[in-house]
Symmetry: D2
Subunit: 242 residues, 4 copies
């Protein structure tokens, strides 16, 4: 009888140990914990975002020559000031999620690439095109939402000129090995006004207007916005490092 009791105890011990394997617990992972982020609300960025532009000033930006950025600020947005050139962030970035809102001029002038043209360049090299493509035909690999001259957007999700539009972009930077050869391509996923237009496409190299993409080794680098002589406006720009 004593032996039987002991056997029961052994069984129960085994049972408590083993049953943890049968239940869902066996496949639970408790560490690491995902840190808490308060999501965006009414154009307030997520709590862990670096705000690159909140409508007030260009303190996060400089000219290409590292001087003061001179685009126009009015009505809580910034606008390309023709001739002032591209601007770039003072910070360098690698893998990021970027949110950016842009607006092409309500009064339409010109056609094709001359209408509401600007662009957001990752690491100063890899452009997602900004263009007013609402009833405005251009080459497919140069329209809004394209990875410029590399990837046609899956669809044309442009709003009307004068309306604010959004890009939500996931950029993974390319990696180079000790021989300066690219060992992993960068990638881009782009939602244009909430519609998927680029789905984890590889970045082929620099997005050149003339000639082929180039793949010269580099590290983290600024985000750049393009002065293409059109008064495109921007607001609510934030970035989260991945």
């Amino acid at each position: 009888m004593k032996n039987i009791i002991m056997l029961i105890c052994v069984n129960l011990l085994l049972l408590s140990d083993i049953s943890s394997q049968k239940e869902p617990k066996a496949t639970e992972v408790w560490i690491p914990e995902a840190r808490v982020v308060t999501p965006a609300k009414n154009n307030t960025p997520p709590s862990d975002a670096i705000v690159l532009f909140d409508g007030k000033n260009l303190e996060e930006w400089s000219s290409m020559g590292d001087a003061k950025a001179e685009w126009e600020i009015a009505d809580n947005c910034m606008t390309v000031l023709k001739g002032k050139g591209n601007i770039k962030t003072k910070r360098d970035f690698g893998d990021i999620q970027l949110h950016i809102e842009w607006r092409s001029p309500a009064i339409v002038k010109e056609d094709g690439q001359d209408r509401g043209n600007s662009g957001v360049f990752f690491q100063q090299r890899y452009e997602v095109q900004i263009l007013d493509n609402y009833n405005n035909k251009t080459y497919s690999n140069g329209q809004a939402g394209s990875v410029y001259k590399q990837h046609i957007p899956l669809v044309n999700a442009c709003k009307k000129p004068g309306e604010w539009q959004t890009y939500d972009i996931i950029f993974m930077a390319p990696k180079f090995n000790k021989d300066n050869i690219k060992i992993r391509s960068g990638s881009l996923t782009v939602l244009h006004n909430g519609v998927l237009v680029q789905n984890h496409v590889e970045v082929k190299g620099t997005t050149e207007n003339v000639g082929q993409p180039k793949n010269i080794a580099h590290g983290k680098a600024p985000i750049m916005l393009q002065d293409h002589s059109n008064p495109v406006s921007y607001r609510n720009i934030w970035v989260r490092e991945l």
Copy 2:
């Protein structure tokens, strides 16, 4: 003199031909054209979306036994009706972009996995977890935004109980070869309330509560929403085939 004139003409002809190579035109692609999609506006889905739920009825859904879906509809949303079981779309899907809005009950009861638990299953097999994780600790690989028991979300971007939350999800289906072995893993990218929580992660197989992911060959299949006995609500569900 006549010869010289002719030579000039030949040169000019060559020039016009060749210069097209030097200018940006050489790298323009005009075909195919990206088709036009009107993006979502005030909760109207994009123009090319299949609307799975617009607040009115469950016509796109059925019970697991292919009978009428019996979740509750009220106030333009549908709510899990405990005991009525999971529901699934009548249509089958492969690669998609899914937008779905969900709300966990404002009055908090229970803890951990028993609080505001539901889930969206791609191809009836691969779950992105829905859970009220606002100040509610659970295992990391089972919290809101996780690929259930496969991938911890990068961050916890939950809103408060009773607030509407969004998932924007890009799902690429796995591919199987003629020997029924998986030749390409599926992938998931998830934005939770606009914050990236899954970045093109591979789907390891079925998202099991107990045991390992399974990888049994299959084709297109429905989206499924889970009845986990909690009255989680849904609205504004649409899908775009990629």
Copy 3:
């Protein structure tokens, strides 16, 4: 006492059931079974390979105009016959593993791209370059082992002119959606003489000599070997469908 005995029995039953969860068995997968392939031995191809050339004839090949392939066959190898043009397989292929052996002429003539130049094109569009790059400088993205004008090989693993060299290549074909836009890039992994020179790189589009890669939707297509006017030889060519 009777109750105790019963409890023990219940425990033991549970135990046998539960312990299967604790032991390795819980994570074993028995189906599908990997089918048996006898690997290559002494230049006999793997048992499931389609032999494209075994030294005897060109029955698996045709000219570009679907006429008889007219390259030279001698000494169990086939050699580019200048002016006879490229040749292509009669079969179409998608995702494959390719083994191919090639030899540039032992007597070196010319330089750069004019020395031992040929190429293997997947789906008639995507070239892995064949070139005698032993002490022969050319542009990096056009040397042996490059994805022509797209990806520099990680290293130059060429043997001497006149020696047989091997390529073991894994090619995954690009996928296009219903709008004829590329939804997944193709990829190439290349071992040159057993040394990794391309590591799952994306295929940017057609490998053009002049201008940019093109991405026009297509299905399965032949493998093509290039007549670049140099008497490059081939032997032991086989392919496995993935």
Copy 4:
């Protein structure tokens, strides 16, 4: 007349400049140059490889407790010495190409996982299974060429017991972010006796015998070979850092 001559000269100058854009030169890339590697020949490793075992000694290896590795060396190969435990490289590795040759005992004893069992672990965590699977059934995700309990090999390419077999493996290490969450999965491509058995599959986490893969952040780490109590032999082991 003088003007006409001048015009011709200007044209010719333009022509020489522009024609460089039309010709292949426009898309040539000369920098960086791929460095030269002498490929393997008669079991001599490639010239840039780190030789981990050349048949003579275990100087590149240690026991798990960082003591002397004690496996047997004879006939230019090393053999698991039952009870001496796993061995690991003294060096740490990230992304690599690995060549390894192994042989299961010619005299077959036991069945299933008890026949010729060993394994090569990348970063001490991620196992490609070594097993005598010639006419020896076991679970598919645990046979030779499997990523242990994660990925079934595409085919079973085993040679007979007592014959030397090869693995050519490309391993890309996983990346973790500052929150210690995996931001890129590792990947494995495996050729078994020259036959593709794993095609750029994702590493799901540690390859556990019991329970789920784990994903705890880590950096470079040793290669480990397993003592599974069977006298499996190894020879000609080399690695190239990518």
